[in-house]
């Protein structure tokens, strides 16, 4: 099975700049990895389409089939690109909810590329002030270069955003190539040594 990189975007518009940024980061990552002889498939997840499923799981604990599938995809990904719009100086509630409902340990040691979009460059520290602590808490392997894209960046003639995307993709691609995320073990597939439970309890 080909390795996958999951692109998780929390934009709410269509088209959404978060989704667009995610797509460009993903394509660039795919090129970097292909050049390194490690082809990956991209799996795109738009959290917008899962908003009501997430709300229902939060209150009822019943995961929808779609959510189960999406969490499974993240748990198998060699790397995850996450993109959130900035809402009130932080990631959006929808973005946070997805990680709040994720099983413990899924992000641990999994390479992640942090990216965000916002109206102006004044929000650009959101990656450092909000996203970094969250993914550090989740014990993810955080790529050293993140990308923030403000509205003005998209029309930028100098191609600076493109350069930053390429730079982030190189750093992320290298991380994925060296330390790819491993598939989360199916806890129902293997037996537990009950003797250990009895004595180590």
């Amino acid at each position: 099975m080909t390795d996958t990189v999951v692109v998780l975007t929390a934009g709410v518009g269509t088209p959404s700049s978060s989704q667009l940024l995610g797509e460009q980061l993903a394509k660039a990552t795919q090129r970097v990895l292909a050049a390194a002889g490690k082809p990956v498939e991209l799996v795109s997840i738009e959290l917008r389409t899962l908003a009501s499923d997430l709300a229902h799981q939060l209150t009822t604990h019943v995961p929808s089939p779609a959510l189960t599938q999406v969490y499974g995809a993240v748990g198998r990904a060699v790397g995850v690109i996450v993109v959130t719009p900035v809402f009130n100086a932080s990631y959006s509630g929808l973005f946070k909810l997805f990680f709040d409902l994720m099983d413990e340990g899924v992000m641990a040691a999994r390479p992640v590329l942090l990216a965000a979009t916002g109206g102006t460059a004044r929000h650009s520290l959101v990656i450092d002030t909000a996203m970094l602590p969250l993914f550090h808490y989740l014990k993810a392997a955080i790529a050293p270069v993140g990308v923030f894209a403000a509205t003005g960046d998209w029309g930028d003639q100098a191609g600076q955003l493109k350069a930053r995307i390429e730079s982030a993709a190189r750093a992320f691609g290298q991380l994925v190539a060296e330390r790819p995320g491993v598939t989360v073990e199916d806890e129902f597939a293997v037996g537990i040594d009950f003797e250990n439970l009895l004595h180590g309890a």
Binding site: T60, H61, V62, P65, E187, A189, F194, E195, L197, L198
Partner: protein, 387 residues
């Protein structure tokens, strides 16, 4: 195959009338529901245990003892008995007494309880849930099986020279089911001891139920209790019936929409598609229930939750009448094509017979193991020995 009902004992306002039953009314309703369950021919009545409002059943054996006196045939069980916050010594004592009073019509289902604030009231911590379930149950088994218990563990005062009084009826402890929605350790525990495994099933997509039951069956076989399809499986379920399915949906929807746990969430239709909840005609409930076999294989016990979310007693009793009507068809349907090796759920009578058979055999063959009673080669392990 056993059919029955289980109740969590919630005291909930009827959203259609605004009337909230008193705790007294709900406790009396539980007795009325249990006696009615026997009257319509059901096999099992199981009662929950909770230690916080809006639930009333903090003392399940008191309630079940009273029900035992009011009934003659129905098996009394729990859904669930908290193996984490209860002292295993008290569980052994309470259920031993109940077993004597009910002439053996008792088994119990152990669960951990998922209400964080309850644990500290009993000196416990929810984060120790699995460890508590493992240690407490290992002790509970010994209390019911060994005449004198010396014991030391992590969570409880050590026991020295403890003898349970009264001893289990006929020297045979009640059968135990382990209930868990998604903790593989509990499926493992049930398999290890050759006990039953119950999946609540009602708040959960069927794929998850299947994963847990498959794990339990596979490990049952691994631990040498027999082929996977001879493991003892129970499932929860939930229905609301009226002769006409549109009437059922119309009447149940206001209860569903604001029900504790899943209310204010998915629509009734979504919830029916994703979980085993069936709201419709008796025929629809019959067909859906028979389909559970496709999910978990041939199994032993099917319990339904029918009295929650503020449904009035009168409505619940009507549900039981309708349940009674489809019961013969359910029994027939589940019996059809059921392989001969698939056992029934153990009862006191079957456990007594098995224990007697084991006594006979064990004089000739000291290493004999009885799958049904759970007297396994691991008794030495429980005692602390390495295999």
């Amino acid at each position: 195959m056993q059919f029955g009902i289980f109740t969590v004992g919630d005291v909930t306002t009827d959203p259609t009338t605004g009337v909230t039953p008193t705790e007294h009314e709900r406790i009396k309703a539980a007795v009325a529901i249990a006696t009615k369950a026997e009257e319509v021919g059901l096999d099992v009545f199981a009662h929950g245990e909770h230690h916080n409002p809006p639930f009333h059943p903090s003392s399940p054996t008191t309630l079940l003892g009273y029900v035992a006196a009011k009934t003659e045939r129905i098996l009394l069980s729990t859904a669930t008995t908290l193996i984490t916050t209860n002292d295993p010594v008290k569980i052994a004592e309470d259920y031993s007494v109940l077993q004597h009073l009910a002439d053996g019509r008792v088994d119990l289902m152990l669960g951990r309880g998922n209400t964080g604030p309850v644990y500290p009231w009993f000196g416990r911590d929810i984060r120790d849930g699995i460890s508590l379930a493992v240690e407490n149950y290992a002790l509970l088994r010994r209390l019911w099986r060994e005449p004198v218990v010396d014991w030391e563990g992590k969570f409880r005062t050590p026991l020295q020279g403890f003898t349970l009084a009264p001893q289990p009826l006929d020297g045979v402890p009640p059968f135990v089911w382990h209930g868990s929605i998604r903790s593989p350790q509990i499926a493992e525990q049930a398999a290890f001891y050759g006990d039953g495994f119950f999946h609540n099933h009602i708040f959960w997509p069927q794929t998850h139920t299947r994963q847990m039951v498959e794990l339990y069956r596979r490990r049952w076989e691994h631990y040498g209790h027999g082929p996977a399809n001879t493991a003892i499986v129970g499932l929860g379920g939930q229905f609301f019936m009226r002769r006409n399915s549109q009437d059922a949906v119309r009447e149940f929807r206001p209860y569903f929409d604001v029900a504790p746990v899943y209310g204010h969430g998915p629509s009734l239709e979504e919830f029916m598609a994703q979980t085993p909840l069936t709201v419709g005609s008796p025929q629809q409930v019959l067909e859906r229930t028979l389909g559970f076999r496709e999910v978990v294989g041939d199994y032993q016990r099917q319990l339904f939750l029918i009295d929650h979310a503020g449904l009035p007693l009168k409505t619940v009793l009507e549900q039981l009448d309708l349940f009674g009507e489809i019961l013969p068809e359910l029994r027939k349907g589940f019996a059809k094509d059921r392989p001969a090796e698939v056992p029934d759920a153990p009862t006191h009578a079957s456990l007594v017979a098995a224990a007697e058979a084991e006594r006979t055999v064990s004089t000739a063959l000291p290493t004999a193991v009885d799958d049904v009673t759970g007297r396994s080669p691991y008794q030495a392990v429980e005692a602390g020995a390495k295999l």
